[in-house]
Every structure is written in C-alpha cells, then in structure tokens.
Amino acid sequence: MADLIGRDFTPPDLRAKVTGRAKYAEDFRADGMLFCRLLKSPMPHARVRAIDATEALRMDGVIAILTADEVPEQQGPANNILTNEPHFVGEPILAVAAVDETTAQDAIEAIKLDLEPLPFCLDPLESLKPGGPNARTDGNTIVPREGVKEIKWKPEDFVGTDDGKLPMGEPTTEWSFGDLEKGFAEATLIVDESFVTASHSHHSMEPRTAMAYWQNGKCYVHGSSQSQAIVLPGLANYIGVEPENLVYIAEYCGGGFGSKGGAYPIMAIPAHMSKKTGRPVLMRISRAEEYFLGSARPGFQGNLKIGFREDGRMTAADLYIVQENGPNSGFGDMGSAAGALSIVYTPQAMRFRGISVLTNTPPRGAQRGPGQNQMATAIEPLLDKAARELGIDRVAIRRINAPDNDSRYGANQGPITSAHLREALDIGAARFGWAERSNRSGQRTGSKVIGIGVGQAFHSAGSSGFDGLVRITPDGKLHVHTGIGNLGTYSYAATSRVAAEVLKYRWEHTVLVRGNSSHHLPWNNGQFGSNTSFTMTRTNYAAAMDALQKLKDLAARELGGEADDYDITNETVFRRDNPSRYITYAQAAQRAIEAGGAYSGYEAPDDINPMTRRSVEGLVGTGLIGVARDNLERRGTVPALAAGFIEIEIDVETGRIEILDYLGVADCGTVLHPQSLSNQIKGGAVMGFGMACTERHIYDSKWGLPGGVGFYQAKPPSYVDVPSEMDWAAVGIPDPQNPVGAKGVGEPLMGCAAAALLCAISDALGGHYFNRTPVVRDMIVNAFMGQDQSHRPLQVNTQ
C-alpha cells in the first residue's frame, strides 16, 4: 500500500478552479430566474410590529415578498430562516424577489418596517449581573437539556472583580476528574489568571449564496457548503420536503472554516421563494451580509488556575469559561476548550466550569478548532510564564505534559487512538533550531526586539460508522462515490485514493463521483471537525474491501476454485497458483451485472444508511458494487495534535510585528497527501496569526452596531503579513485504528500557530503577558511605553 497514499497528485477539480471554469452556487442560472434580497434587522434586538410592502409590491419587476410567517418556524434558540423577532443586527426579517437584484433592493427600501426596539446585550458578564440585560426575552443562557433560561449571578460574585479577576458564579456546566485540591497542594507554582479571547468572523471567500427551483415535485438547490451528504436531512427539513425529494448540488465551496459544515437556515430561502413564485430563485449573499450571517467564533472571558510541580508537570488545572454565544444555540466551544486542556497537558486533576451567555451579536458556530484554539491562545502564554518562573525551557515544559497513546481525554477520561505531540515537539525543536534560536530571545537591535515562541493545539479528528460506496463499470473504471463534500482541502480526493489503493487501481482509471446528491452518493459525515482523513479512509477502505471480495468471488465463479485462491494485479483478478488464469476488472463488472444480487446492487447490507441504500438502488445493474458501513474498530477519541515554532521581530516603537520564520509540525498519522498537508499547515498558520494579532468583533455598546463588516475592517492577514516561505513537517507515525494509519489535522494547525505567535510576543517583551487575544498594535505600544491599556479588564468587543 504505497503507490497512491503519501504521494502528491492533481485533484480532479483543480484545473477548473484555477481556470475559473468551476461553477459555484452563484454561477448557476435557470430560465425565468428571479433574484432575491433580504431585508435585515437594523437593530440588535427588536420585534416586528408591522410590515407594509404595498408600495414595494407595486414596483415594476417586483414579484413577491416572503416573510417569517411563510417559512417553518425554528424551535427555541435555533437559528432562524426569517424572523419577526430579530436578535442581531443583520438578521433576515423578510426576502423580496424581483427580476433583478437592483429592483429587489429598491423594493426593500420601499418597505415600511415598524420595529419595536427591545433591550439588548453585548457583554456576557453584564448579562450575568443582577438586573443585567438579557439577549432573549426568555433568558440569557442555554442550560444543557433544558433550553433557554435566565441566570443572574449574586452581587457578591462580582466583589473584587474590578481588577480584572473573572467573577465565577453559578455555572451551567461542570465536570472534574482527579483530586483537584491535592493537585494544587502538591504544586510548587500556581498560576491563576483571567483572560479574554475575542470573537471573530470566518471570512469565507465565497459568501453563502443559494439558488433553488422545483421540478416535478423535487426541489433542486445549488448551495455553498463544506459538506454534501450531511446537508440533506437538515436542508430538507428547513425546506419541508423529504430528503429523497431534495437534490443538493455543491461541487465547489469557497471556504467554510466550520461555518458551512451542515445545512443552515437561510439556505432554504430561495427554495421557499421559488415555491411561492413558481420560478427559480437565486439569493446572492454579499460580503457585508456574510459578516452578519456567516457565523463567528465565540469569545471567552475565562480564568485559568494551574498548578505545576518543580519539573513543570501540571498537577492541577481549574478552568472557568464564560462563553459569548451570540443569541442562538451557538456552539459548544467551551466544553471543547476544556477537553483540549485535558489532553494537551494531561493534568493529574482538573475541573471545568462554564456558562454560555447569550448576546445580541451574530449567531456563533464552529470555527476551525472551536474552543480548542481559544484554549491554545489562552493557556500557552501561561505555560511560558510558568516555565520562566520555574526556570524550565519552554519546549521542555510542553514535553513533560504532552500526551502519549495511553493518555485519557475529557470529562469522562476516555481512551484515545494515538498521540505523538512529544515527537512533534522534538521534530520541531530540532528542525527549527530551538536551542540556538532561544539564545536570541529579547535581543534588541535599535527599536527591534526578537521573540521566539512555541505553541500547541488539539482537535478531535475522526469519526466512524459512515458508509462507503464504489463501483466498477464494464469499461473497467473505478467510480468512488463520495458524499463528504469539497471544502477546498482536496481531502475528498486524497481519501478516495484509498479505494483505488486497495483495488490496486491506476489513479487515471478512477472516477470520483460527488457534488450532486442525484449522483448516488453514500451517507457520509460532514467535511468538518478535521475528520475527513480518518473517517473517509475507513469508509472507502470498507467499500473497496467489499468490492475486492466480490471480484475474487466472481473470478472463482468464472475460473473455478475458491475466492481465497485469487489475488489482484494490474486491474485483473488472477489465480495465485496460475496467474495466466485471470479476468479483467472490466470483465468482472460485466459478470457482476449478470450475476445480480449483491454483486451489482440488487441486494445491499442491512446496516447501511437509507441514503446509501437509495444510492445503491439507483446504481443497480450498472456494474460491480462495493458497499459497506464502516464497522472497523474504533476505541476512543482521535487526537489531531500540532506544534508550531516561530521567530518574530517586534518594533517596540510602532508595535509592528514581523514574522521572520515559522515551522508547523503535524501529528496526523500517515500523511495522505503531502502537498495538501503543507497547505493546511501554512494556511492554518496564517489564519492563526490573524486570530492572535488582528481579528476581532467590535460592537458599539450604545447602538449594538458592528464595526467589522468588511475585509479591511475585520483584518484577516494576507500573504504579505507572513514569510513567503514557511516550513512544515509531520510526525508520520500511523494511527493504529485507521486502515491506512491516517487521522485529520486541519484545525489545530491554526491554534498552534496563534499560540506560538502570542508566546513569541511575550518573549520579545520580556515575559509581558496580555491575557487577551488579539494582541493588537496599540496594546504592544501601550505595554512598551508603560501606558494603561484602553480597554477595561475582561471587556469584550473592544477595538
């Protein structure tokens, strides 16, 4: 198994992307198509008293409006399709369809909207104060399994918090393991600090446009999503059709970073509008709208109390997180943050407490390393602080706490499949020249100071139990049907190569079938959570093994003997004892059709998902069908781990940071596709640098207005903010619970870079520690000049 795995290749969709021929959701047109635009809330929280669209509907070219009363209402704090009680600036209230977009927007401006302003909240801690504002009329937090509740902390919880100490009142989530008190009692050093990590946007290059039309009872939707199969049930539900009557087309996606993992409600608006008007409808989402609707990473206000032994071993960790969750159900970042702490540093005892507080800011969702990456930015500089106080090298304090294959994860201290963070640190330290470079820490030339940093991060990166589906057709080709999606990482293709590898296929003879649910795709996980590499290598392996068995069976039927007497080579099945007796894959496909039954899809395994079953039914009699649920063994969490090493130069007179060098090291098991991994390591680092130093939501506290609604305001880094050459490496130790040894890694590659950069900034400034991300220019200038910072401790949404 080494012909395809671990080698670079040209993914089949690459040429179309670089030549511009790739069609994204907004590139599709249909006869009679209308354009729709959204009327969005100008207020952070309001109730619609009345909508007068009389004048708008009289305008030439205006066809229809669609209001919240005409679309399925979403329960409780779920994100809405349209709403009569907007909970954030930019929440869609209604849609207008017209013959062109200008007319639709003109019509929106002609609509008289009567809104009743309601109290709003931007700062979680304000909401927790007695008498503080609630983001929703029914409460300010979501209690697990109970829904929206109001929780106010006691006045005494806030005593003494003016100096920046996080108040820690009643949490909604709490868990622990080990003996925390004992852990702190045994500690030589206890670090106890509060921190803030800012919310920030996803900046997906392709805004979440959707186009829809209905034909013969089926609804066709062109959407922008990371995933393919997993979008169907959710989107069908938003539209109000059975999944089998929904055709979902998403061949390309211009980035999602977690914000397009599954179906999202506004994706259903064109389908509802199309149903209402009887015409195809395209809803293009603009860049500014993407900042309202495009999800965001939750911010944290937190406190970390960590005990260390003299040798740097973490004896106890006590974590409290107040999560800024937006107004809706949000995402479970805080729990994932705690999980990350438990596995990256393997504390001997740990407690996590958290509360997720609702705010009238954009709905939160998963963003690359949700929770884990905030954790990395909060805790890694503290680790450095401890290392300095204990007189330990900063890589050494990470090594001593790093997990191994026997380490346990999270609240339940469950098993993991493999962990090689220590090896990643060793490889990185050697390759980066950590020891020599550390001598340059704090070295000043003129106004410029050198800083060196190392950072680590984690994400749970693998799933199981999904289906694989392959097909060999009488022309001899292998068709790998993949329902994972095409986020843009090419992992849909890299993981499909496993099927070709198992069947010893030439890649040139392999066809990837994907991007359109009418093309008979299997039930697959979403392309999120760094899980594709682990999950999809398993499904494709399982399906290919089924096909392999069928090839041997068919050969035995044709040429005599038992299936076990046969082996494969050069796309033929041959008798081991007489290689001159063989049938080609093309012949086998023909025989499969003739044999019927499970060979060509007339029968399918009982344990596959109904979606996969429908796909197999659609392929009946067209070739040799390999189909199976991934029932391979998996015990425990699949850790993706990463370490980043960085050297920077800070101009202390201007706060300008120049990144001189960066190395990212991945623990992702077997490397499937080196070029893609390299891109992930470097791209993840660029995203991490933005998280560390420039990106954040800002909200005017009086009006609730967002200040970052364009690239130039939200400030993601670009290629000129990073070195033109960055280095990468991989540990390369196979994961024992994956047939090819692979596991995912996309997400921690961002967090380790963000953490490394923050650690390097503190290093350059002589150990000064901000307890806040992003560390923007003015914070560095203020710190170096000995001025107070502009923001109050624990304040959120600052500039």
Partner: protein, 328 residues
C-alpha cells in the same frame, strides 16, 4: 446599514475635460466624478450616496500623464498609484511620494486607484461608513466620540464635532513636499497649496476637501524645492496590506554637516486633515540632527494631543514616528 447593491444612475464617459467639467457643472450636487472607483463604488454599493449622474473620468487622457513643468513636475490626477510608485522621475526626485503611494491599500487597489482619488477619498470612520446619521452625514451627532464609542482609529487633534481622520497616505507626502493642487471647473482654473486643499470639520463638516461639486482636481504639481532633502515616510497599520494608517508620517529634512537647515513634517491619521507640524519644524531648524533633537521634536509634536476612549496609544506612536523622522 450596509446595502451592498448599487442603485441605477446615468453614466457619462466624456473624452474631453471640458465635457466633464460641463457635466459636473450641470449636475452639481447630483453629479459624481468617478476615477479608480474604490471609494465611489463602496459608497454606491452601500447606497450611502445617490448620485443621479456619474461622470467617469477614465477617458480623459490629459489627466493621466506626468509632465515636466518649470521647477517641478505635474502629475495628472488620474495617474494610478502603481504608476506613481514606479515612475522613475518620481522615484528619483520625489521618493517620499513614491513611498507613500506604495503603501496604499493593496497591489490590486493601487493598480486601479488614482492619485486624485486617494487625495479626495472620504473619511473612513467606521460609524460614518456604516451609514449612521452623524454630523458628517448631515445628522446632528457624532457616534464616534460618545462616551463608550469605539474610536481607536480616530483623531487626537483638531476635533470639531467630527473625530474622523484623514485616510490618505499620499496627502501627507504631498503636503510635506509643498505640492499644489490644480482645480478646474467650467469657468477656469485655480491653484491652491496642498496644505489648504483639505477641509477642517470646523469649516465644512460634510466635505473632506475644498472641492466644490462642480470642481475637479485635475493635477498635482510637485515643486523641486525639496528634491535634495532627506525623506522619511512611515505608515503604521495593523496589517501589511489593505489597511489605513493608525498614524503615518512624511517628512523632508534639509541638512548640512549634521545640522538641520529646513524641514517639513506632516502626520496622517491624527487629525481630520494632514497635520503639518510647523512648531516642530521651527524648533529643529538650525539644530544638530541627533537623538536629543529627535526626542525633543517627538515630545513637542504631541503636545496638546487629546485622546479619545481608545486611541491614547496614538500619542506615543506619533511621538515615536516624529523621533524616527527627525533622527533620519
């Protein structure tokens, strides 16, 4: 609230400057001169400005050239920032302007953005750009100077109701070079100093420059007066592309034998107009160009600065930039 959908307008594409001026005259407040489009289209998309007629200047060849004039050069207002950055004459004699142009936005924007457009662009205050009804937008309040307002990027000098700052990188360089602006309307031409081109909010809070609706900035004249000077330009931003200055500085300093003979020093992003530091220039004239002079210059530059909630970092930042400029 941002609309992101350009409304309809009548588009004129004159090929003679006289026709363009006639159109500007005809439409007055309802007309809009379009150059590279980076500021204009932003306003149109957000429906923050609703011109009836857009006069596209791209067909006016005479506005897109760099010519020698007695004692200097004249740069057509339509010259792109990339052309300014790469022009051999400008690089050789007015490196300060080339440097400033090279720091504007991103390569793509510099390829289409013009010198005239960069000088005439509107304020970048995020509240104003968001579309609130503030003083500058014709309303009766300033959102950015409210007690809890987020005003990190705003002014520390010369505040008068509006706290927005000049966003132009080339403006500070041209004031430092003592350039002149050539302004035309259908009735003729007027020439004013670059320093007087920019509008204080105390004079007219709704305009960034002295241009009347019927007027066009056609060219910028840069005199040879400062070609022998040492130039210094620096723009501090959050990131290295597509970012406006937190503070910028442009200076031209003439010296001989370590002594400063004359200087022009201008800061951007600290006031609504490019802030010329005449007191600093006067103080350093005749002084030895050393660390001590630089430190005194820096301290003097920020005297009487008045920070808002989130921008007191601009004071040491400006002080440091002045020091660096004077230090040479």
């Amino acid at each position: 609230m941002i609309k992101d959908m350009i409304p309809g307008f009548e588009l004129f594409q004159p090929t003679e400057i006289e026709s363009a001026l006639e159109l500007l005259d005809r439409f007055g407040e309802d007309g809009w001169a379009l150059a590279g489009g980076y500021d204009s289209l932003d306003w149109f998309k957000n429906r923050g400005k609703h011109p009836e007629a857009v006069i596209d200047l791209q067909g006016l060849a005479e506005l897109n050239r760099i010519v020698e004039i007695p004692n200097g050069i004249e740069i057509g207002a339509l010259t792109t920032l990339t052309e300014i950055e790469n022009n051999p004459t400008i690089r050789e004699r007015f490196g300060l302007l080339a440097e400033a142009a090279s720091k504007v936005a991103s390569p793509q924007i510099r390829n289409a953005g013009t010198l005239g457009g960069n000088l005439c662009q509107d304020a970048r205050c995020w509240y104003y750009r968001y579309g609130v009804s503030c003083y500058r937008a014709g309303g009766n309040t300033c959102y950015a100077s409210a007690p809890e307002a987020l005003n990190r990027e705003h002014a520390i000098f010369g505040v008068n109701r509006c706290v927005a700052v000049t966003p132009s990188d080339t403006a500070v360089a041209l004031v430092a070079l003592d350039a002149e602006m050539v302004i035309r309307n259908s009735g003729g031409e007027r020439i004013i100093n670059a320093e007087d081109f920019f509008m204080e909010p105390s004079s007219d809070i709704t305009r960034m420059t002295v241009l009347e609706p019927s007027e066009l900035l056609t060219a910028i004249r840069v005199p040879n007066t400062w070609i022998d000077a040492d130039f210094y330009f620096e723009k501090v931003t959050d990131r290295n592309s597509w970012d406006f200055a937190l503070v910028s500085i442009a200076s031209a300093i003439k010296n001989s034998d370590g002594q400063i003979n004359d200087a022009r020093i201008v800061c951007g992003a600290v006031q609504c107009i490019p802030r010329r530091l005449e007191n600093v220039e006067a103080m350093i004239r005749g002084r030895v160009q050393d660390e001590n002079t630089a430190a005194q210059a820096g301290a003097l530059a920020v005297q009487n600065a008045e920070p808002l909630n989130y921008n007191h970092f601009k004071i040491p930042l400006m002080e440091n930039l002045v020091k660096r400029a004077v230090r040479g």
